[in-house]
Point group: C2
Chain length 142, copies 2
DNA sequence: CCTTGCTTCTACAGCGACTGTAGAAGCTAC
DNA sequence: GTAGCTTCTACAGTCGCTGTAGAAGCAAGG
């Protein structure tokens, strides 16, 4: 198995050098071996782990969730229902967030199209912001 | 015009006491008058301002944007095109975010439904996370 | 061999928008 | 008078990084 510097690991995983060190700090990578002069050494296994983290982050998982998912994947004999439920939960959160954002989109779009371009005193954007009652529909806290 | 304590202002605006002080710190509220013993005093104008901020935050505007919108609404003779463009920009960001989240939703949903419930060694969730190539479609960084 | 310029190292501060904490002081009701 | 709430200031913590400073390592060219 070939060895890589942190920079090479960064290129291979598309995780920035500083972010790799940050993940190590957060306990997601363990403590990689070092050269005599103290530089970190990475192998293909660690790079796969970085890619896993990167992919999970892209999908919106928190670092805590990712820690749990990595622990599961480190022990392949365990049942995957825990992994499944983390992913289910994440899917649920994404769907909730989409619904929220759609409500915001409707409201913003209504606000923007009703702006006639006159003076602020008549501006529908300012007006709508000043009074929630102007909203066509309710929208949640994000 | 009636006067309110910070707690009453909080109840009336649905902005938490600590958050009101935080907004003041950020220059969104000016420096409210104080009682002899140093407690903040709010009137209906300030409470309307708090509601404006709250509503704009609910719609996802940043505090910086809200500062700009408040400055516009403080000077009602100005043209509202600036307000319009801030709102347009926000609408654009919300739409972008919705599109991103829909891609995540598709991927997560694919992941979750393909999970047969066996051992981790065969888990599609873990598998998909480990390898982006398993993804049906691309998904962006959030 | 020596310099140049890139990479890596540690340690810490900063982002946004709050939230939580500590400890003191004021204020209201019984 | 005292119990218990509110308010005050000032600062630390949240999340997931990003940026900074200053020092040291390392590879290539002269």
């Amino acid at each position: 198995m070939a060895n890589f510097t942190i920079g090479q690991a960064s290129d291979a995983s598309h995780v920035k050098v500083t972010t790799i060190r940050f993940y190590e700090d957060r306990g997601l990578l363990g403590k990689p071996p070092r050269t005599a002069s103290g530089r970190r050494i990475y192998d293909a296994t660690l790079i796969a782990r970085l890619r896993f983290i990167r992919h999970a982050r892209d999908l919106g998982f928190s670092l805590d969730d990712i820690g749990d998912l990595l622990a599961l994947s480190d022990d392949p004999t365990r049942n995957c229902s825990a992994a499944d439920s983390i992913a289910q939960q994440q899917l649920h959160e994404v769907r909730t967030r989409i619904a929220q954002l759609k409500a915001l989109e409707a409201e913003l779009s209504r606000m923007v199209t009703s702006c006639g371009g006159g003076a602020v005193v008549n501006c529908q954007v300012i007006e709508s912001l000043a009074d929630h009652a102007h909203c066509a529909s309710d929208h949640p806290r994000s």
